[in-house]
């Protein structure tokens, strides 16, 4: 402050002659300081006004944003919301800013039906200085909106963490447009099919001779062209429909174990005529042991079909086409190689893009829509595989794709070696199924006894004391579950492991009643034998792992690998069952897939920790990137021993670590 001197000036004891001078000096000094005070004040006012302007400008900008925003202090306290937030959620700023973090979380949560990130994690995620969380949220109160939600840390100029920003981007309209687009495609497809049916049908009718009179050669040729082109149109429509369904996530796959060798051997003959016509040589290399992959037969065939027909189309007369299959670890690898025109690096980069067709004079001659490979890639990825291309212009191309194996290649161990003379009781009312199971089991060296009704089964189980029972869920006299309950409540039979064979979803009841394992019908021999082997192997060193996972095949590799490593694994369909089962079965480890319930994850952990019977069980959370579901080390450490693993694709490593920890 330049004026400092002024007020500090204290007049001494002045002589008269000097007095006037001094007074003048003083007045002068006051004048100067007053002037500078004025200037400073003015400057401060200007600065302040400018600051206010900037501030209100910033506020106006934030308010003008299309996105709702909420800014939280590092402790999770709400510091600021914008107008859009008030509009969207019907909460005024004063109300929001007066809430505690927990109250605010509860308040917001009530507005959404689908918002895992808002659940309890407000203060916790606010403490996170690094991560960005995203999810799709659906608001239901006061109106329905769909959001892309982002939560991100905010740093000041010195890179210090000053809080967390929650941003809701309204995508209701985009989603609506998406829905309209796929409805449109499906409507158009339907409308196009109807006239095409007439075109194709009548042409077929004319070509099928006698009924409509004879055709000359030229007429026949021209109608042939009409027919081929209408077929092309149909396949284009099919491709478009497929693509649109895939994009809107409407295709649901029913993945089952498939014999890849068989699938390929069935498909290949349909190409033989085309190869013969173009004098192309086809070679097939299939492994001796048929790889059993997880997939949907029609879709796997569609992938092979697309790649083989491309290979045929882009390979000149007299060329070569090879198809080979091998297994590596947890995947089957299929490679289709041709000696065709090949692809430039640029073409390879765009190959899996919609409507992209390689720029090459040779491709002009070949019909295609530019959708086939896009669809192929989606189909591969939907089934848990990957696809790649390698090629050199003029020297042909190789397309490689993988599909997950239903079980790792090293398994199953041969039952004869470690379980000689074990006796298995098969309970099923269908004679065909009994015979089939008998065939499988005797082939693997087990002794098989059979029962067709619940009552008979129970009697046999008591007298013949089998080492294992396979039990059909649907029996005429007793439901399978009743039989199971009886077996498990009788001391002489309670310890016999039971595998439930089922086409009915009993919502995990069987597990609660004590079934050791489940198998879905239709039963695959290899699957059945492997589970039996594992159960017998487990009896020597029991380490029980509960896996809470969605009811699909995504965990099969992990489960079979864990079983292979000698652990007993029980799959629990939902968390409600988990708590009951964890109390009863005293597992050594719980693996929780966040996909089952990203919301309940934390609540579930808390309730496990709150119960003396379950509080010490180690827990591994998978299926989520660290922190993605609002769960990460910081928040979980107080809960006790918890690990978070991302996508459990490295099954081998996972099993290794689990095995080490359990020892």
């Amino acid at each position: 402050m330049a004026q400092k001197r002024g007020p500090q000036y204290v007049p001494g004891e002045p002589e008269k002659s000097q007095g006037d001078e001094q007074q003048e000096n003083t007045e002068e000094a006051f004048r100067i300081s007053e002037a500078s005070l004025q200037t400073a004040l003015h400057r401060a006012e200007t600065n302040y006004a400018q600051l206010e302007r900037t501030k209100s400008q910033l506020r106006a900008i934030i308010d003008a944003s299309q996105e709702a925003m909420l800014f939280l202090s590092p402790g999770g306290r709400p510091l600021r919301v914008n107008t859009r937030f008030t509009d969207f959620f019907g909460l005024d700023a004063t109300t929001v800013l007066s809430q505690s973090p927990e109250q605010l979380a509860a308040l917001l949560k009530g507005l959404f039906i689908d918002a895992a990130l808002l659940d309890q994690s407000l203060p916790r995620s606010a403490a996170d200085k690094e991560r960005i969380f995203r999810e799709q949220q659906v608001q239901v109160e006061p109106g329905r909106r769909e959001f892309d939600f982002t939560s991100l840390p905010v740093m000041n100029v010195d890179q210090a963490y000053i809080g967390r920003l929650y941003v809701w981007h309204d995508v209701t309209h985009e989603h609506e447009v998406d829905r309209m687009k796929s409805e449109f495609v499906s409507l158009v497809s339907h409308e196009l099919r109807t006239p095409l049916t007439s075109i194709q049908g009548y042409v077929d009718l004319i070509l099928a001779d006698d009924t409509v009179g004879n055709l000359n050669e030229l007429q026949r040729e021209f109608l042939g062209i009409v027919r081929n082109n209408s077929r092309r149109l149909v396949s284009l429509i099919n491709d478009l429909l497929d693509l649109s369904r895939m994009e809107s996530g409407k295709i649901e796959l029913h993945r089952v174990p498939l014999d890849l060798n068989l699938l390929i051997s069935e498909l290949v003959p349909s190409f033989q005529p085309s190869w013969n016509a173009s004098r192309q040589t086809f070679t097939l290399h299939l492994p001796e042991a048929a790889p059993i992959v997880l997939g949907e037969a029609d879709r796997v065939t569609q992938i092979l079909n697309n790649l083989l027909s491309n290979a045929h189309k882009y390979t000149p007369e007299g060329g070569r086409i090879d198809l080979s299959v091998e297994t590596a670890g947890y995947v089957a690898l299929v490679a289709i190689t041709d000696s065709g025109i090949g692809l430039s690096a640029e073409d390879q980069a765009h190959l899996f893009t919609r409507f992209y067709r390689a720029h090459n004079p040779a491709t002009e001659a070949v019909s295609g829509t530019g959708l086939g490979l896009v669809i192929t890639r989606s189909l591969v990825e939907m089934q848990g595989g990957e696809i790649q291309v390698s090629s050199e212009p003029g020297h042909g191309s190789t397309f490689r794709f993988t599909l997950p194996l239903a079980q790792p290649v090293e398994t199953p161990r041969l039952p004869q070696e470690n379980s000689p003379g074990k006796r298995i009781l098969v309970i099923d009312d269908e004679p065909d199924i009994r015979r089939l199971l008998q065939h499988y089991l005797e082939g693997a060296g087990y002794e098989v006894i059979m029962a067709s009704t619940g009552a008979k089964a129970f009697q046999l189980a008591r007298t013949a004391r089998p080492d294992l029972i396979t039990l059909d869920m649907l029996l005429p006299d007793n439901s399978g579950l009743t039989v199971l309950e009886r077996l498990k409540s009788d001391a002489t039979t309670a310890d016999i492991p039971v595998i439930m064979l089922t086409i009915v979803d009993d919502d995990g009841q069987g597990h609660l009643l004590g079934a050791t394992d489940y198998l879905d019908k239709p039963i695959e021999a290899i699957d059945l034998l492997q589970r039996i082997t594992t159960i017998f192997a487990d009896q020597s060193h029991q380490c029980l792992i509960l896996l809470v996972a969605p009811d699909d095949d995504s965990h099969k590799p992990l489960v079979s690998a864990l079983r292979h490593a000698g652990h007993q694994v029980m799959i629990v369909p939902n968390e409600r069952k988990l708590i009951a089962l964890a109390k009863r079965a005293h597992p050594d480890l719980i693996i929780l897939d966040a996909a089952v319930s990203p919301i309940g994850g934390l609540a579930l952990l808390h309730s496990l920790r709150a119960n003396p019977a379950t509080q010490a069980i180690p827990i591994i959370i998978t299926g989520t990137g660290p922190g993605e579901a609002g769960m990460h080390w910081h928040t979980l450490t107080p809960i006790g021993y918890v690990d978070i693993w991302g996508n459990p694709s490295h099954v081998e490593t996972m099993v290794q670590v689990i095995t080490q920890r359990l020892q």
Partner: protein, 135 residues
């Protein structure tokens, strides 16, 4: 009934489709293959025609005016005499979901439009009950 001189009764097929082109096409195809064909152009008419002619097999389009194919199949299946009559849905609804819906309504088979005429005839022949030979 339409018996020929050898005493063999021609098998009756009911074709239900609202498009005249389609009825004509299917009629030509099936008559060419030696069947006797009767037609209906909507769901309601299909019930009347079925009761009148007792077809051995029904080809049913699903999108129909007034009463649609799903509904008509539902009614047919509730009638004792048509409980086991083969019904083939011949429809431009081709997604897996639609196929399942058709089967759930009571269809015996599903053929997507546009169809391969050969495949259609094969399916008809496969599903028709064995020829009734009159002594």
């Amino acid at each position: 009934m339409d018996e020929n001189t050898t005493g063999e009764r021609k098998q009756h097929i009911l074709v239900v489709d609202d498009s005249e082109d389609m009825r004509e096409l299917l009629g030509q195809l099936l008559e060419g293959a030696g069947y006797l064909v009767v037609f209906a152009e909507d769901g309601q008419a299909s019930l009347t025609q079925a009761k009148l002619h007792h077809p051995d097999l029904i080809l049913m389009d699903l999108s129909l005016p007034d009463m649609d194919g799903w509904e008509a199949i539902g009614y047919l299946r509730k009638m004792r005499e048509f409980r086991t009559t083969p019904i083939i849905a011949v429809t431009a609804h081709v997604s897996t979901l639609e196929v399942e819906r058709a089967m759930a309504a009571g269809c015996t088979a599903h053929i997507g439009k546009p169809f391969d005429t050969k495949v259609l005839l094969q399916n008809v022949a496969r599903l028709l009950p064995a020829m009734v030979n009159m002594p």
